[in-house]
Symmetry: C2
Subunit: 198 residues, 2 copies
């Protein structure tokens, strides 16, 4: 069935994610992916054009999952402050899985300069992130807060801080820092959004 193909593809992508996390982007071979997925090498070529194609679809799948999860989180809340909290929480949720995700995402980021298709996927992801930020700021403005923040640049700065915090957290191999960065990230953003111009 068509279903089988879809299942296999997912299986290969999940295997690739784990393989990259363990061995690093450039060290992963087709054989590694096949081993992690418990299939033979030929299966990968059967369902994907080539290795680059596997990576491309993995990046697409990952960034889409991150966005969907973050967007769903803010939609559950009704006011701007809660939405902001939910946004940061979503970015930092699930420490163990998240670490794998962002570790691999970072490897992709490094590849973006060498690969036009990766760049396009990432640009879409950025636009989605900024969209979330814009929605929150706009909601805040409609509530009479966040009055001194520009929507566009504000949404850029929000994502910059989230990414910067995630990066630092990723680089410091200490699980206790997870909530530290999550909470400080949130507090810092709120302070920035709430600023009263002097």
């Amino acid at each position: 069935m068509n279903n089988r193909a879809e299942e296999r593809r997912k299986q290969v992508l999940r295997a690739t994610l784990q393989a990259i996390c363990d061995k690093g982007f450039s060290a992963v071979t087709l054989q590694d992916i096949a081993d992690y997925a418990d299939v033979s090498k030929g299966v990968i070529s059967y369902y994907f054009k080539n290795k680059e194609d596997v990576f491309y679809h993995l990046l697409e799948w990952m960034t889409d999952r991150i966005f969907q999860s973050e967007y769903a989180a803010i939609q559950k809340e009704s006011n701007a402050i809660d939405k902001m909290r939910a946004y940061v929480n979503a970015a930092f949720k699930n420490p163990e899985d998240n670490r794998i995700f962002y570790r691999v995402y970072l490897e992709f980021l490094a590849q973006v300069n060498q690969n036009e298709r990766f760049r396009e996927v990432n640009n879409t992801f950025y636009k989605n992130c900024w969209f979330i930020g814009s929605e929150i700021i706009q909601k805040g403005k409609s509530e009479g807060i966040f009055t001194n923040v520009e929507i566009e640049s504000g949404s850029h700065m929000i994502r910059a801080l989230i990414d910067g915090c995630l990066l630092q957290w990723l680089m410091r191999d200490d699980e206790t820092l997870h909530s530290y960065y999550r909470d400080n990230c949130y507090e810092t953003i709120i302070t920035y959004l709430n600023n009263k111009k002097s």
Copy 2:
């Protein structure tokens, strides 16, 4: 002479920097480095233990240069606000060269999980960055400003925002955005540091 050796090493490192920027970390071969440096492959083996050793020394050299340049910049200024401005300016100075630098630095960051020595170099770099942030916040406190910011977490957030902005700037291939990110990064940090707790 010893001098000649030092010169050759620098030459190889500079070539490696350029090669990684053009071709990507994992694609760079010893032959590439030799070609960029206008020497033969043997030279590299003569001055470095192996390819990984070249990369290690390059990372060390790069992160040290970034720190030295940023630290020198804040020392030229006398008050906290000016220091902060100088810090951000230093991080964003020299768009073209900087792009190469940070592009390659990003590739190293992605490798950090696979390489203990890289991780150590980067940890040192982070500590240096946080040190700069701490100095600025402390100076501010001694001037009676930045009163509501903790020194440690504040220095973490400052670097997180700088890195996040640099990352976004790097990913968006538009030279006009350089001053946009530099200025917004600075404004956002100052807003955060100056916050009046309600």
